[in-house]
């Protein structure tokens, strides 16, 4: 059963087996343990905590611009105190409003939902769920975090430059982003944005290569690909997607840097800016859009697929049922991965692209909704006749599915090029991607945090606070984003500083005020999470080894989270990870490490097709026990 691919790093195995693992034989200083750690669990925590801090910052930015949208005519002195020249007289400067929107989007999409999500859970779970001592290259892993950290610092530092941070939207379309004179944010702020993103992509590539090689090469004995939990499948395809698409963003960014600083014309042509005719000729801004969205669309699936994986696992564990249609779940992940490379044009239907091309992108886009639908139905079927345990992680997973449905369905409007003519760049799009990404993916991440917190910190988070956090956030997110669909259907454009200048938009002012208060409520609800998170690290209830009675390998490691993960030999895997509530077994879960020979009264015919020995045992056992015990 064990193929050549499943051999563990022999050196590590050697070291750990020979010395036992009770006491630490590596000399660890504070610096190597907490700062430049090469341990995947510590790196995961670094990614998580950095991600949470970035999320809080981005959330505060969103509250600031929501205040502007709710009260466009009111001065708030505290804004001036807080933001200085960016909010003269206590009112946000329109350019700074755009900076806020831009940095909010950038941080949330890239720093929180890409690095914070994949970085945390791929690092934590790939070795633990596959039975590896660590990542394929712990050093690269450490570098990945520090590149990410540097990228965060650079991105945030742009708030301290004279003209403010980048402000062309998170999609930074040139010429707006290419011409420093086009807006203040396109000066130093944009330079910092571009620098930060290049480092960020480097970090993602190092991470991604590591995830892929670990998954391919370092699975424990018995862990063939089709025995991997869906989390690992999701991280696997996500990493592939990232490695193949992120470099394209760098290409786009590098050309943009050339246009900005070396006078090239990749994206520029026929430009008259503020009365001066620029010499650039022959470039096309649309080229950038193609390059950006060639990453940009896969990016949204880089964001959602890990969340899908986490949710699938949490749902199976807490519904005490196997995930429904495991194979279909894997194939739909693969399908989404492949298709997501050929749908990017749906972000560009109204750029004036050839109508035929628009038609092609519409077809591919709506095809990608099929695997998404399959996944949704499979989650529903997983809940059906389950025995559901509402841990906070489970609550967030259910919330995830609800948001994913709501947001996915609006994708069907947007994917239809004819409808997109009127919906593009309106609040309908804002509603769509905030439900599917801003809400669903965040909920997947939170589900992961609540569920694997004991694996990271050896303690449990407080359940009641988790419930409070869930309900306030869940209701809040719907209150914020549901009405936005209707604003979009009224043709209200996104990225508007105020809705006061157009008569027709004034009817939405009261709705905006309402949305802002709902957003503030949801933001404050995160205090419940932060308090819970921090206090549980230090004072939380001590976790048992397998607090959720789950099957996967990470729960066979000791609570103490030792270097190398397992004190002795790495356990062997005999079965898939979803044997929950198997009929005939006395418990409602059978860990992956339990061989079929120990579960004779619950085995099913196809469980051990490939193992004649167990098959013989089973037949004998059946002879002995029949007809009293029927095995289907």
């Amino acid at each position: 059963m064990a193929t050549a691919l499943t051999v563990n790093n022999p050196e590590l195995v050697h070291v750990h087996n020979d010395h036992g693992h009770g006491d630490h034989h590596h000399k660890e200083t504070f610096l190597t343990k907490y700062i430049f750690s090469q341990d995947h669990k510590m790196i995961a925590k670094q990614f998580l905590i950095t991600g949470i801090i970035m999320a809080v910052i981005a959330m505060i930015l969103s509250v600031l611009f929501r205040i502007q949208l709710a009260y466009p005519n009111t001065a708030f002195p505290f804004l001036q105190t807080l933001l200085g020249r960016f909010a003269p007289e206590g009112r946000l400067d329109p350019n700074f409003y755009l900076s806020l929107v831009t940095i909010h989007g950038t941080i949330m999409v890239f720093f929180v939902l890409t690095a914070g999500l994949s970085g945390t859970f791929s690092n934590l779970l790939i070795p633990l769920q596959l039975g590896a001592r660590d990542m394929a290259s712990p050093f690269l892993n450490m570098l990945s975090y520090w590149f990410f950290f540097t990228a965060c610092i650079i991105m945030l530092s742009s708030f301290f430059v004279q003209k403010g941070p980048a402000s062309g939207g998170w999609t930074i379309y040139p010429p707006l982003s290419a011409l420093p004179k086009a807006m203040p944010g396109s000066e130093m702020g944009m330079t910092l944005w571009l620098t930060s993103m290049v480092l960020f992509v480097a970090s993602q590539l190092m991470g991604g290569i590591n995830y892929i090689s670990t998954i391919l090469n370092m699975r424990t004995k018995g862990m063939d690909l089709w025995k991997m939990p869906l989390t690992i499948w999701a991280f696997f395809v996500t990493a592939i997607l990232g490695v193949l698409s992120f470099p394209v963003l760098v290409a786009g960014v590098v050309l943009l840097v050339f246009d900005r600083s070396m006078g090239t014309s990749f994206y520029l042509s026929d430009i008259v800016l503020n009365g001066s005719v620029l010499p650039n000729e022959g470039g096309s801004p649309i080229l950038f859009e193609h390059l950006f969205w060639f990453l940009g669309h896969p990016e949204v699936y880089i964001v959602i697929m890990p969340a899908m994986g986490l949710v699938s696992e949490v749902m199976a564990v807490n519904a005490r049922k196997p995930i429904f249609g495991y194979h279909a779940m894997v194939y739909s992940l693969i399908g989404i991965t492949i298709l997501s490379f050929i749908v990017w044009g749906h972000h560009m239907f109204v750029t004036g692209m050839n109508p035929f091309l628009g038609g092609v992108f519409m077809i591919t886009t709506l095809i990608i909704a099929v695997p998404s639908a399959v996944k949704t139905f499979n989650w529903l079927a997983t809940l059906w006749r389950g025995n559901i345990r509402f841990t906070p992680a489970m609550m967030f997973s259910i919330g995830f599915v609800s948001f994913f449905i709501s947001g996915g369905l609006t994708g069907i409007f947007l994917g239809n090029a004819a409808l997109d003519i009127n919906l593009h760049d309106t609040y309908f799009v804002v509603a769509h991607f905030h439900l599917v990404m801003g809400s669903a993916a965040i909920f997947g991440m939170l589900a992961g945090v609540y569920h694997w917190f004991p694996k990271m910190f050896g303690r449990l988070m407080d359940e009641k606070l988790g419930y409070l956090h869930f309900w306030l956030t869940f209701i809040g997110a719907y209150l914020v984003f549901f009405p936005m669909h209707f604003m979009g259907l009224d043709g209200v454009p996104r990225r508007y500083y105020a809705f006061t200048e157009f008569e027709s938009m004034k009817q939405w002012l009261s709705v905006n005020t309402f949305i802002t208060w709902a957003a503030i409520m949801s933001a404050l609800a995160q205090v419940a999470f932060l308090y819970n998170f921090v206090s549980s690290i230090f004072f939380g209830r001590k976790a048992s080894q397998n607090p959720w009675n789950a099957n996967t390998l990470e729960w066979t490691t000791p609570v103490e989270r030792i270097h190398g993960n397992w004190p002795g030999e790495i356990p062997t895997v005999y079965r898939w990870s979803y044997d929950y509530s198997k009929p005939g077994h006395d418990q409602d879960f059978i860990p992956q490490t339990v061989p079929f020979s120990q579960t004779l009264n619950s085995n099913l015919p196809h469980d051990f097709e490939d193992d004649p020995e167990v098959e013989k045992m089973q037949t004998e056992w059946l002879k002995k026990n029949s007809p009293s015990q029927e095995v289907k």
Partner: protein, 404 residues
């Protein structure tokens, strides 16, 4: 036991902080009246500053008070739970509480969605005021019906299952790893539905965007140039042909860079608003001078980007005049407005232009009053040394789609 202890110490710390802050609050409120809101419109000197801090402090305190109340409620629940357990009863069954909450959420949520559809749904755009827009609206309604059915159905299943299959010690979940029949079913059915949507969507899309060249030639051509933060409008003159443009010819008097080597330019008109006759095809020719903008007329379901260096166009037939729309909306001041719908800088939110649809006669009248683009200053600037060779502007002025 350990758990209790840590919980106890936790809330102790928490409540003492709160107490301290409450005292602080009393102290600070004693110095002045409590402000009711932070939105003081004027800032003058230290009183405003004081007010500001008081306002912030007040809100922070309010929030801490809320936290305190929540902590107390948490404590009470805990104590209640413990007393139940002490009396050898079962403790609070949070699992059931959460399941019921999901059930309640389902009902409230469905009502909320209904409320949204009816209340906010009535605030959306009126029926399309253009020929192709009607088709878009049809497409939209079909999609809306299908998605609403799926939305309601799946949300009911989701929360319904959460409620019905809440955990119990007495039951075991039903071991169901897969079922190929039903999986095939729910792959194929969405695929079919989406195919139908794609087919109709493609046809609609193609008829809108792929207007035959002959029809493009016979349409009224209007030239719109976008720049930060305004729209410049140019109409063809008697020859019905727009002269060529070249951004390099930009000057103060020739802001659009119209090329007067092209004879068609001579009679072109410049206009302050866009006025078009009803029920006649109009072809908007777009270009941007500095950054990308987007020409967006929501009432007509019209949108196309204006891109520097890349001419684009959108052809459509408006069917409702401004006057009719005023009557329909019962708003005598109603105007169709052109929005910019692509982020283009600080004033992006206020880059507008009136777009008027009028009866044919009114249009002719309006056109006849428009000034020529070739103003006297421009004549002087060009010294009118233009001896031009005639050019066929329709073929040369190839405002074609971006053929990749």
């Amino acid at each position: 036991m350990k758990f209790q202890k840590s919980f106890f110490s936790k809330s102790l710390v928490f409540s003492s902080i709160n107490l301290f802050l409450l005292l602080l609050a009393n102290f600070s409120f004693a110095q002045g009246t409590a402000p009711t809101s932070v939105n003081a419109p004027t800032i003058d000197g230290s009183t405003a500053d004081n007010n500001m801090w008081l306002g912030i402090g007040y809100n922070v305190l309010l929030f801490l008070l809320l936290c305190f109340v929540i902590a107390v409620i948490g404590r009470i629940l805990k104590v209640y739970d413990l007393t139940l357990k002490m009396q050898n009863k079962k403790g609070m069954d949070w699992n059931t509480v959460m399941a019921v909450s999901f059930g309640v959420f389902l009902l409230l949520g469905l009502y909320g969605a209904y409320w949204e559809y009816t209340v906010h749904g009535s605030m959306i755009l009126p029926d399309a005021a253009s020929k192709h827009g009607v088709r878009i609206d049809e497409m939209f309604n079909i999609t809306l019906i299908i998605t609403t059915i799926v939305f309601v159905g799946t949300q009911i299943l989701l929360f319904g299952f959460a409620y019905i299959y809440r955990g119990s010690q007495l039951r075991k979940a039903y071991f169901l790893p897969h079922n190929n029949t039903i999986e095939k079913l729910w792959t194929i059915v969405p695929a079919i539905v989406l195919t139908i949507l794609v087919v109709f969507g493609s046809i609609t899309w193609k008829t809108i965007m792929d207007v035959p060249v002959a029809e493009q030639r016979s349409a009224l051509n209007v030239d719109v140039t976008a720049h930060q933060f305004a729209w410049e409008v140019r109409y063809p003159g008697k020859d019905k042909k727009l002269g060529l443009k070249n951004s390099k010819l930009y000057s103060i008097n020739n802001k659009l860079g119209v090329d007067f080597k092209d004879h068609n330019s001579y009679d072109d008109l410049s206009a302050d608003e866009i006025v078009v006759p009803v029920n006649k095809p109009v072809r908007i020719n777009l270009i941007a001078q500095d950054v990308i903008h987007s020409f967006y007329l929501p009432w007509f379901r019209v949108q196309i980007n204006a891109v520097p260096g890349l001419p684009t166009f959108f052809q459509f037939v408006p069917t409702v005049t401004t006057d009719d729309m005023r009557a329909k909306m019962d708003n005598p001041n109603f105007e169709y407005k052109l929005y910019c719908n692509k982020i283009c800088g600080g004033n992006h939110f206020n880059m507008q232009k009136v777009f008027r649809v009028v009866k044919e006669a009114e249009y002719q009248d309006w056109v006849s009053k428009q000034k020529p683009y070739l103003s006297d200053q421009l004549r002087k600037e060009l010294k009118m040394a233009v001896t031009a060779a005639p050019a066929d502007s329709v073929t040369k002025n190839k405002l074609a789609f971006n053929k990749l």
